[in-house]
């Protein structure tokens, strides 16, 4: 049984697959995938998650709205959130962090960087 559960919200199947591959290197981490913000919220409502990784630009509900919703959710308001996005402008970063994201990573990603941030946020040695 996994010690941690991670929700990956990403509309690009390729990017999602890549993130899941990267996270597979962490023992005891279960990954749940979602296509967009709304799907992410549904998955969040179905269980308890220890960390959320989300893209920003997604159809139906974008990543920033998802961050706001998570921060006002009674169960998941304290869950660490990692943003992985193509938006590299400083104002985008600041906005995401102000909304409550913990880490802001720009694409293209390197798996070791993502793993390192997830381990740091989950206090995995």
């Amino acid at each position: 049984m996994a010690d941690y559960t991670c929700l990956v919200v990403e509309d690009s199947p390729m990017m999602r697959q890549l993130i899941v591959f990267a996270l597979a290197r962490l023992k005891n981490l279960r990954v749940v995938e979602a296509d967009d913000g709304v799907d992410g919220l549904k998955k969040l409502a179905s269980g308890r998650f220890d960390i959320v990784i989300t893209d920003i630009n997604m159809p139906i509900m974008d990543g920033l709205k998802l961050v706001k919703r998570i921060r006002s959710d009674a169960i998941h308001r304290d869950v660490p959130i990692v943003i992985i996005t193509t938006e590299g402008a400083e104002e985008d970063r600041q906005r995401a962090l102000q909304l409550g994201a913990n880490v802001y990573i720009t694409k293209p990603i390197q798996a070791p960087q993502v793993i390192s941030k997830v381990k740091e946020l989950l206090h995995i040695p």
Binding site: S12, P13, M14, M15, Q17, L18, F21, A22, R25, T86, G88, A89, T106, K107, P108, Q110, A111, P112
Partner: protein
């Protein structure tokens, strides 16, 4: 009478004298004996003292010798320990180097694994794309999300009746404001990349004219170049090419070309089973 008396007195005198002499002799003899005995006793005491001294000296010497042996043993032990210390220091240094090598190798393997995952996902997605729009969507994702390309166009080759080939833009990604136009098969950087089937990488730090390519990736299907991906701009956060980009360009060059050709043929035929009939003929 007198003579007799004298004789008697002489005898008495002589007798007494002998007694006296004997007593004196005895007295002297015993006195000397006592003195001699005293001297002997003194010498015995002195000898006993010397013997004690000698014994003490001997004991001290024995202790000294034992101490010297212990020091010698300790020196031997110190030497052995020093040797062991040197050996351990060498081992530690070697272990440190091994650990460093291991960490470097681990980092390299991590990056290789990362690259493999990128290539696997990109290749997998291109191979499951069935329609031209799916192929272009996958190419967008590879170029933008995996490489960090902000603007690009796909130009496909069309052979004219005059025998010349023209590269025509068929898909553009965030190319608003760029005059992306058809290019002759050997014109400029794009034409050269297509005619030589060699990708072109410009310097992202150098100023370029608007619409000038930053990179060209020829799309090669078998031995034929069917088109080219022209990269105009990176995403804001991407500052230069990395090794992984080259690997992905290579993959795009061949796999995307096959996907474009395959999806195009399927779209034209409209039925996958028409294509499968060919296998029955084989």
């Amino acid at each position: 009478m007198v003579e007799k008396a004298d004789a008697t007195s002489w005898e008495a005198y002589a007798s007494r004298s002998l007694t006296v002499q004997r007593e004196e002799f005895l007295e002297t003899f015993f006195k000397r004996g006592a003195e001699f005995t005293n001297e002997l006793l003194g010498e015995v005491h002195e000898l006993q003292g010397q013997l004690r001294t000698l014994r003490d000296d001997n004991a001290a010497l024995r202790l000294q010798l034992a101490s010297d042996d212990a020091i010698r043993d300790l020196l031997v032990k110190i030497e052995a320990l020093e040797k062991e210390k040197r050996s351990l220091a060498t081992h530690i240094e070697s272990a440190k180097q091994e650990s460093f090598d291991y960490n470097s190798r681990y980092h390299e393997v991590e990056l290789e694994l990362d690259a493999m995952a990128n290539l696997y996902v990109a290749s997998y997605q291109l191979h499951i794309a069935l329609t031209p729009s799916e192929v272009f969507s996958i190419m967008e994702q590879i170029l933008m999300q995996f490489i960090g390309v902000g603007r690009f166009a796909v130009l496909l080759r069309r052979n004219t009746t005059g025998g010349e080939s023209v590269l025509e833009p068929v898909h553009m990604f965030h190319c608003d404001g760029l005059a992306v136009r058809a290019v002759k098969g050997s014109e400029g950087i794009i034409g050269e990349s297509v005619s030589t089937a060699v990708y072109y990488l410009g310097d992202p730090t150098e100023r370029r004219e608007a619409g000038a390519p930053l990179a060209c990736i020829p799309l090669v299907f078998g031995q034929t170049v069917i088109g080219v991906v022209v990269v105009y701009e990176f995403l804001e956060q991407k500052t230069g090419f990395v090794n992984m980009d080259i690997e992905l360009f290579r993959l795009l060059g061949s796999h995307a070309a096959a996907a474009i050709a395959g999806a195009g043929l399927l779209a034209k035929v409209g039925d996958v089973f028409v294509g499968l009939d060919e296998y029955r003929r084989v």
